[in-house]
Amino acid sequence: MPTENLCDKRMSKFKNKGKEPTKMRDRRIAECVELRKAHKVESIMKRRNISSVGDEEPLSPCENTDNKQVISETIQEIVANVNGDCPEKQRQGCQAARKLLSRERNPPLKEIIEAGLLTRFVEFLGRNDDPTLQFEAAWSLTNVASGTSWHTQQVVEHGAVPAFIALLASPMLNISEQAVWALGNIAGDGPSYRDGLIDCGVIPALLARLTPDAPVGYLRNLTWTLSNLCRNKNPFPRFSAVQQMLPSIIQLLHHSDKSILSDACWAISYLTDGPNERIDVVIKTGILPRLVELLGFEELTVVTPALRSIGNIVSGSDLQTQAAIDAGVLSALPQLMRHPKSSVQKEAAWAVSNIAAGPCQQIQQLITCGLLAPLVDLLRNGDFKTQREAVWAVTNYTSGGTVDQVVHLVKCGALEAILNLLQAKDTKTVLVILDAINNVFLAAEKLGEVDKLCLLVEEVGGLDRIEFLQNHENNAIYRAAQALIEKYFSEDGDDQCLTTEATDSNFVFGASDLQKRFDF
């Protein structure tokens, strides 16, 4: 039956606690190959500072052109200025570079690097005597580091990390903030630079700046950089670093600024996107009630990462899931399942699918808190990605639920809804549905209601669809469909084991091998 075919990534990532594979919970897989565009609602890994400074004049035509010639001339001029000894010229060159790098479109990151300017810029970071120069250099390097991994690598390899960490302590807030930003870009590049920064002591230096009087803008950058320090797996950030950051992140989660809340939530979502020990660390901070509260926010930028964090947590152990349930997550989910944004519906359905993979007590709570009606709604009317998650919820529910619970789900219209989805143009979804149908039949067998269920399936057009799937090109699907048809909608075959001697007219009666001792 379908179960044996479902051993792909998703199944192996379902939580498994003494259960069959089908009843395990889902985990997001970071290393998964993606065909899609990076998700629009995800937080950004690196950012370029393109804001203009206060009373600055608009960009001159030569700074805002794509003409290679003009850019190359400008860069030559910058090189000349920056490499000279005149502080005024240095400032000018640095500022010109920063402006080029802050253009909306096609900033010449590569050209600046290839012009060999990074060495000087890093050197300028140490010029405590000239804060303007420090600031312009920090800004330029921030923007270079915001590019591809190669760009970031150039900045790091020019020794910018210790210099930026030192700058965090700068009495000039704008310089310190720029350093925070640059470090955020470097941390966002991936686990290895992230851990490099941590090794250089970036965390205490950052946390030292987290004071009640820090302006909101500064705190936003700081929160974002902290979130990047929590980000990425393979490996995860080490436990000691997480422990260091967590109290501050928790504190930021109580801030009133939406942008800070959003990045703090993202940080939590990264920390919970891992094995159960990682989730435990977060749960122990007692943050769950606040996360659930944040699920009720208006702003999508807050709801999305909060929901992601909750989704991650309920993909953990039964106990961890129960902690989320106790914090009230089930009262928040119905509203999110009816959220106008389909991406939110999808994440909510994913969370439900993981709760439904739990023991029947937790499934009962899904019923009590009224999640079945919105779930069936999503099966009927959600967009495809949401429907897919909702189908998983049904399959998990039907494989772990009691007979009564399964009956209840069918009465809510889930069976009809998933039968409709057998037309989905997604092989895995179809197989998962067949698995759910099989589960429902198993429940019906226990109740002696198979005939009734057969009629119901036929009435809503499900039999036609299952029969149709017997022609599916995918072996697993056609076998699963065939198995259902053979088991419930038709009749069965035969097998053989030992043999008996025979003549033309008779079988020869008599036992051989009399010496053998019997022992049952």
Binding site: C32, E473, E491, F518
Partner: protein
């Protein structure tokens, strides 16, 4: 095998020989080629012949041989030798693409297949440059080459449509996208431009349009798993062009063929699929384009003709609309009254019309027409798609749609009324429309189970259906008559009983019509009506209500079998069976005539059984005749035997495999009716029933066991006295059956009958052997089913021969065997025994072991006494709900599994459950209480150990 002229010559000669029809020449040549294919250079030689030969036929032959060679040998199976040398593999991959692309089409197709077989194994890791090599050819400007590349790509990529997501698969797709997506897009644009340049050159257009179709297919494959970033970024290009192509028409590409879809239809059909894929899976991104596609597809539908060649396109297009209109956020595209009206009027209604192709099938190919129309194998027909669209629209617009259609139905009926002779198809469409509008849920068993409340089905029946049924000329307008009959059948659960009763005689009259569809539908409708249940689960239509029509019904049914084309009509035969079953005693007067007709039919079909369902219902009807008649008068059994045995003998002698199991069942039924000893005619057959050849066919086993049981029941003493030499053969059958996991229960049925019925002396000498065989099977493969049957048997033995006999025979086979069986089998497993009679046997048997077996009291077996008693109490306490009420024993045939498998079980030959203990023990619980009491009186102090395990409550009865 060297690459030289000699070898090329030899290979060519052998290839030539494989084309010669004479197997004496062909076979050895094929064998030779297979024998040398393991040699290095063999594939290279083949490709060389393919490339260089002057003979076109040899070239194609080499291509086919090469493809088959690749198919058999390319895959490297673990632990098996590599069947193609590495240098050959490398050489093939280096040359095949070029060779494929420069070959004529017939060869190109073979090589393209070969490439995709190789690709399936080697691409991308072991064939990294395949794609780039292919992509470069896009620039060749030669569309013969380009189409070769596209076709190969399609066979490489189409698996993306049905395989499960995996990192491996997605990495491959990503790689393909990186190298292929951009060039494909460029090619797509360039091809479309070329179509404009060559707008008047039909030959060029044909090539270009087949390219476009292939490109569209590739689009589908590459976009199936998920929406790739590239295609999201280039959605504008693709969708705008798809949209334009959908709306495009070119007179030059229109074909005259009415049946075969042309290039335009194929392309548009694929574009509909592509749009449906995006609408379903990538809704968010596709939303801006969707309304345009809805309009285009709808216009396409409005302007597309009725010819068969457009069927696939039209049903794809309608299915697209059907899937979109039931999604909440596209509701607005349809809710305008004008839009709805226009869809109903211009899309749905025209596609529900009865076409000339339907008319031809109705007249000339009734069987296929019926299967499509009645059994729903119409999955991609226009009518089915139109019905789906109606259902989809009704999700949000049930009221308005019903309103629009009501108007339509009325106007079509008015048209019809003006001139029925010309406009009868309007009424057909009206009926079809009402049916599709009213049907919300449907099953084979009950017809429509949920109807649209806005449609007044009864009124329509009275005003428009009944008229046709009552029309005196039953052969006029056969299609409309068939529609009317089908209406009754479809809405049987919705129509009130009075109306059904009014319809019954009319349906009976229609059994006489010339049209096969018409009288088949009449038979089928009657059959369905007769299965309907009313209050108390009794049939809705009673025999009394049928009384006035009984004779007519039976007459017409049998006469219908004589109409040309219906001599083996399964619907009629099923209606005969159902009528017998409904009418019961009322058929007795007719049986003497009817049995002759049935027997005659049986004789005819046994010459060449071809309609399994017809045959099945024929035998069911025979069983019903026997059962009903003999219930009134047992003595009539002889006349049935007289009528049937000659045909049965013929069937058995000719070994008509399909019928043999049926014959055994009917014979069992007949034999069981006899009250005195077994007739000699049956005894003569007895030795033949033990022939191994008969038992080798699994379909024979259940009915043969059943028949042997009937022999034992009626003739055990006769067998013991006149056929004692056959007893080992009989036991041999038992031995054969218990050796099989599938059939062991049948073996036990037989063994139980032997032990129960045979005089004890006649089997004494075999008893020990029987048990040894059972123990061997228990030892070698113990299954729950076997253990359950085994428990029933040993307890039956205990009841029949006594507990001491059981214990002695066990311990005689092996010391302490009895204790082992009690401890390891009876105590742990007895709770699994199911079935009322089976449990009763076990209860009585165990009671005897507990109370009548000294060894249980006085030896080391004593320790088992209390656990055995507990097991017995557990057996009593188990919920026992496997009983089948008497009246439900002969269940509806639909519920009977088996009539398609080798064993064709006849529901109406069914056997009542047999209780070998019968009235001797009515309540095993009381027996246990009494036996324990007797034991405690006989051996005071012994039973006191039971005080704490057994209370009055446990034995509550």
């Amino acid at each position: 095998m060297e690459l030289n002229d000699g070898n090329l010559q030899t290979l060519t000669e052998y290839l030539q020989k494989t084309l010669i029809p004479d197997p004496a020449v062909r076979r050895p040549a094929e064998k030779f080629l297979e024998s040398v294919e393991g040699n290095q250079n063999y594939p290279i030689l083949l490709l060389t012949v393919l490339e260089k030969s002057q003979d076109e036929v040899i070239r194609v032959c080499a291509a086919v041989t090469f493809k088959n060679y690749i198919k058999r040998n390319w895959r490297i199976v673990e632990d098996e030798p590599n069947k193609i040398s590495d240098p050959d593999r490398t050489a093939i991959k280096a040359n095949i693409v070029n060779l494929m692309l420069t070959s004529p089409e017939q060869i190109q197709k073979q090589l393209s297949d070969a490439i995709s077989i190789i690709g399936r194994e080697d691409f991308p890791q072991k064939w990294p440059d395949l794609l780039t090599e292919m992509v470069t050819r896009f620039q060749s400007g030669d569309f013969h080459i380009i189409n070769g590349v596209l076709r190969t790509a399609h066979s490489l990529f189409k698996r993306y449509r049905h395989e499960f997501k995996s990192n491996e698969l997605w990495s491959e797709i990503k790689l393909v996208l990186d190298t292929f997506a951009q060039p494909l897009t460029e090619l797509f644009k360039a091809t479309i431009d070329l179509c404009q340049t060559h707008a008047t050159d039909v030959n060029a257009l044909k090539v270009l349009f087949s390219s476009l179709t292939l490109i569209s297919k590739l689009f589908y494959s590459l976009n199936f798993q998920d929406l790739p970033e590239f295609f999201e970024d280039n959605m504008e290009t693709w969708m705008t062009n798809f949209h334009n192509l959908l709306t495009l028409d070119n007179k030059l590409l229109q074909t005259d063929d009415e049946e075969e879809a042309g290039l335009l239809e194929l392309l548009k059909s694929q574009i509909c699929d592509n749009a449906a894929l995006y609408a379903q899976k990538y809704d968010e991104e596709f939303q801006p384009y969707l309304p345009r596609f809805v309009t285009a597809i709808w216009n396409l539908l409005v302007t597309t003709g009725q010819e068969v060649k457009y069927d696939l396109l039209v049903s794809n297009a309608i299915q697209f609309l059907a899937s979109v209109c039931e999604r909440p956020h596209y509701k607005h595209l349809f809710e305008d009254q004008n839009v709805l009206t226009s869809i109903c009027e211009k899309v749905i209604v025209p596609n529900m019309e009865f076409r000339s192709a339907d008319e031809e099938a109705f007249e000339d190919n009734a069987e296929e027409y019926i299967i499509r129309d009645l059994e729903g194998s119409d999955i991609d027909t226009r009518r089915r798609a139109a019905c789906d669209l109606v259902r989809g629209l009704c999700k949000f617009f049930e009221g308005p749609v019903t309103g629009i259609f009501s108007g339509y139905v009325n106007s079509m009926l008015t048209e019809y009324a003006k001139n029925p002779g010309v406009n009868w198809k309007h009424k057909d469409a009206a009926i079809y429309l009402v049916t599709s509008l009213a049907s919300k849920a449907q099953t084979q068993k009950h017809g429509i189970t949920q109807a649209n409340e806005l449609v007044n089905l009864c009124e329509f029946f009275v005003n428009h259906i009944l008229v046709d049924l009552k029309s005196p000329n039953v052969n006029e307008f056969p299609v409309l008559k068939a529609d009317a009959i089908k209406y009754v059948m479809t809405f049987r659960s919705q129509l009130p009983k009075e109306q059904l009763l009014e319809a019954v005689p009319l349906l009976v009259a229609h059994l006489q019509t010339e049209s096969i569809v018409q009288h088949t539908y009449a038979a089928h409708s009657l059959e369905r009506l007769f299965t309907m249940r009313g209050a108390n689960n009794a049939t809705l239509i009673t025999p009394a209500e049928m009384a006035p029509f009984t004779e007519q019904l039976l007459n017409n049914l049998f006469k219908a079998l004589a109409i040309p084309g219906s001599s083996e009509n399964e619907y009629i035969m099923k209606a005969i069976m159902r009528s017998f079953s409904l009418l019961q005693d009322a058929i007795v007067p007719y049986i003497p005539t009817l049995i002759g007709q049935l027997t005659h039919k049986l004789l005819l079909v046994s010459k060449n059984p071809s309609k399994p369902h017809f045959n099945h219902y024929l035998f069911e009807s025979l069983c019903l005749s026997i059962r009903i008649t003999c219930k009134a008068n047992r003595d009539t059994v002889g006349s049935f035997e007289e009528a049937l045995f000659p045909v049965f003998t013929e069937i058995l002698q000719n070994d008509v495999q399909e019928f043999v199991p049926y014959v055994f069942q009917v014979m069992s039924l007949l034999l069981e009716i006899h009250t005195s000893s077994i007739p000699s005619s049956y005894m003569a057959l007895f030795p033949h029933l033990l022939q191994p050849a008969l038992w080798e066919r699994t379909g024979n086993i259940p009915p043969l066991v059943r028949l042997l049981q009937a022999y034992l029941e009626k003739g055990a003493t006769t067998i013991a006295s006149t056929a004692a030499d056959k007893i080992p053969g009989l036991l041999g059958v038992f031995q054969k059956l218990i050796a099989s996991k599938a059939n062991d229960h049948q073996g036990f049925y037989l063994l139980n009958s032997i032990v129960e019925q045979m005089p004890p002396d006649s089997i004494t000498q075999y008893r020990k052997q029987i048990f040894i065989l059972l123990f061997q099977r228990l030892q070698s493969s113990k299954t729950t089913k076997f253990v359950k049957s085994f428990l029933v048997f040993i307890n039956l033995y205990c009841v029949k021969y006594g507990a001491i006999a059981l214990q002695e025979i066990f311990d005689g086979i092996q010391p302490k065997m009895f204790g082992m069986v009690v401890e390891k089998i009876i105590i742990p497993e007895v709770q699994k025994v199911s079935g009322q009679v089976e449990k009763k046997i076990c209860a009585v048997g165990i009671t005897k072991i507990l109370t009548e077996c000294p060894a249980m009291m006085d030896t080391e077996y004593t320790k088992l006494w209390t656990p055995l008693l507990q097991a017995l109490i557990g057996l009593f306490e188990l919920p026992e709900d496997d009983s089948i009420p008497d009246d439900e024993h002969f269940i509806d045939i639909e519920d009977t599994p088996g009539y398609q498998t080798a064993f064709s079980q006849l529901a109406f030959a069914g056997k009542k459950e047999h209780d070998p203990i019968g009235d001797a023990v009515n309540n095993p619980k009381i027996l246990l209480a009494q036996s324990l009491h007797k034991l405690s009186t006989a051996c005071p102090g012994r039973v006191s150990i039971t005080h704490n395990v057994i209370t009055k409550n446990d034995l509550r009865t």
